[in-house]
Amino acid sequence: MTLPFAIIAGLTVGSAIAAMSLRNLVHCALSLVLTFAGLAGLYLQLNAEFVGFTQILVYVGAVSILIVFAILLTRSTEPKDEPATVTPWIGIAVAISAFLTMALAVLASPVGKRAASPMGEVSVKTLGQKLMTDYVLPLEVMALLLTAAMLGAVIIAMKDKEGSR
């Protein structure tokens, strides 16, 4: 385990914990952004530059903004909005047991010890070519999904506005 990895991983996990545990929702969202950025750093370490920068562009630039807007629009910034849950321990227990299971599996598996094979830079050109050849069907489906999601989001938000008038 190298030092950069340790720093980034620690940052990612720590901010993820903060994102799930802070009272103020905007603070949660901001911690979440830090998690996303940390993940992008991990991707870069894994030589996945394209995915790493896409992660920043999409998550930091778009998804987090959406979340923040939703928080503001639903007036959830005030902590009073959220009463303490009745049974937080059940959820936490489930999560811890799940983690233990996975960690045991990972540590036991021989795959985990595998070292990375040397490789050249991933060219964006090849990635694009693959998208247009091998993965053209998923790409089309994705385009359809995005269009549908956009239309759906717009219609959901619009219908209610008219209904309230």
Binding site: L42, N47, V51, S76, I96, L107, S109, A116, I156
Partner: protein, 103 residues
């Protein structure tokens, strides 16, 4: 170089943090954030397994991650639109208080 297990452990941790959050928090937005975290943990797995695979040139994991990010973005947009709609209707974003689902 960090071995694969390091990335997998981080991924597992993130997944479980997201899970815990989604299960314990009552605010719909926080639930969504938890789900986003879990998705990202999965993404990290894809990338890590791709990088440590025998033949990274095939780019399968990478492709999967790209698609996954796109789906996550769409999911977030629709999910948040729903939350806002629900908030407008019920005046709350708390999932427990939103019980009746008649329009």
């Amino acid at each position: 170089m960090t071995p694969l297990s390091g990335y997998l452990l981080v991924s597992a941790l993130l997944f479980c943090i997201g899970l815990a959050g989604a299960l314990t928090r009552r605010n719909a937005i926080m639930v969504l954030i938890g789900i986003e975290l879990m998705l990202n943990a999965a993404n990290l797995n894809f990338i890590a397994f791709w990088r440590f695979s025998e033949n990274p040139e095939t780019m399968t994991g990478l492709m999967f991650a790209v698609f996954s990010i796109a789906i996550a973005a769409a999911e977030a947009a629709v999910g948040l639109a729903l939350i806002i709609t629900i908030y407008r209707h019920f005046r709350t974003a708390n999932v427990d208080q939103v019980e009746e689902m008649k329009g």
